[in-house]
Amino acid sequence: MRSPRIPILKLHNCLLVSIQWELDDKTALQFQEDLLNKIHVTSANGVVIDLTSIDFIDSFIAKVLGDVIDMSKLMGAKVVITGIQPAVAITLIELGIGLNDVLTAIDLEKGLEKLQQELGE
């Protein structure tokens, strides 16, 4: 069984990622690698990851996400996470995963706005 890769789109100096299906471990790790490569190739300085369609995040996926955010930061790209569902937020908090220092926004639109602000444009 092989799951399709998560598409990463480029928009001006930003990368847009919308995760549309349940993440299994391999897809998550593959995504980490793909995103970092894409940042390297495009020298993007901002990334928006939209999680609107994700209805649960466990500690493994949370760790992969947290890691990819830190790694992107090292490569000079700020990451904004958007569209975390209420149920997902509650489970994450109850699991004890705060995703501190992660930038968030309600939806893609606000996420892009926030990114522009952060990048000082």
């Binding site: 569209g83 908090i93 968030t104 309600i106 939806d107």
Partner: protein, 277 residues
């Protein structure tokens, strides 16, 4: 069959009734004796005897339905259950003692009569208790729903600014409900800033503070900023004394200041309109 007992009651109806009422007033709960008028008290007690006598003439089903009607009425009158069971007890005692006095109970049939009494009294007591408890259950579940409904309204006060006033005691169950409402509302209204007003929360202990911090954290995850307002002096004291860390969360002492800060965050302010000349 318990017809002996019932026939005896029917024959000595008035006498038993008077003795019963007398005894109830002596032993009765002060709350009941004071609150309930003599008339209601007498008529209700009389009705009870009628219900019992009816069981001699009518079928079991009819008796059961009359008994549950009667129980419902007593529950509606709001008499304490302890009083009603006591009254039933005294009633049984009086009948038994009178039957004994009239020689209907003797050494030979004593045991049988006692069993008979049990078989006769128990269903009535059970029915009463059932009626009370089902009424209470109904009330409790109604109140639970009512509480849930008033649990946590989310009020959009300006574009992108929402207020959630919390009123009353917060337990774990309610805290979870509040958190769900809060997050769903935040997403629905696309709020940028959410103010939780705890002016109406009487006690903020470690547990309540913990729930509030969790809620604020979750709000941050869905992409909004959370502010806690309405921190009274005693609440500030408890929070610091208990060593609860609220540093990650913006707090203000009043809702007014919170709204001002929220407007600032969303790059707006309230200005006075120039008077038209």
């Amino acid at each position: 069959m318990n017809s002996v007992i019932l026939n005896y009651i029917q024959e000595n109806k008035d006498q038993i009734f008077n003795e019963w009422i007398e005894s109830l007033k002596e032993n009765g709960d002060e709350r009941v004796v004071k609150v309930v008028s003599d008339q209601v008290f007498n008529s209700t007690s009389y009705e009870f005897i009628d219900v019992i006598i009816a069981s001699v003439k009518n079928s079991t089903e009819e008796f059961t339905s009359r008994l549950s009607d009667f129980s419902e009425k007593v529950v509606r009158l709001g008499w304490p259950l302890s009083f009603v069971t006591k009254a039933l007890n005294i009633f049984g005692k009086i009948v038994f003692q009178k039957m004994q006095g009239d020689g209907l109970v003797n050494n030979e049939n004593q045991m049988d009569t006692v069993f008979e009494f049990d078989r006769w009294m128990n269903p009535m007591v059970n029915e009463m208790v059932n009626m009370y408890s089902s009424t209470w259950e109904r009330t409790v579940s109604m109140q639970k729903i009512a509480l849930q409904e008033l649990s946590a309204p989310l009020i959009p006060v300006f574009d992108n600014i929402t207020v959630m006033p919390l009123v009353g005691t917060i337990d774990t169950e309610r805290a979870k409900q509040i958190m769900e409402n809060l997050l769903q509302g935040t997403v629905k209204h696309r709020s940028e800033v959410v103010l939780i007003d705890i002016t109406g929360v009487p006690v903020v202990d470690t547990m309540v503070a913990h729930h509030i911090i969790q809620a604020a954290d979750a709000v941050r995850l869905v992409g909004a900023k959370c502010m806690i307002v309405g921190i009274r002096p005693e609440i500030a004291q408890t929070i610091v004394n208990l060593g609860i860390d609220l540093n990650q969360i913006t707090t203000k002492n009043t809702l007014k200041k919170g709204v001002e800060a929220a407007l600032e965050i969303t790059k707006r302010k309230i200005v006075k309109v120039e008077e038209a000349e």
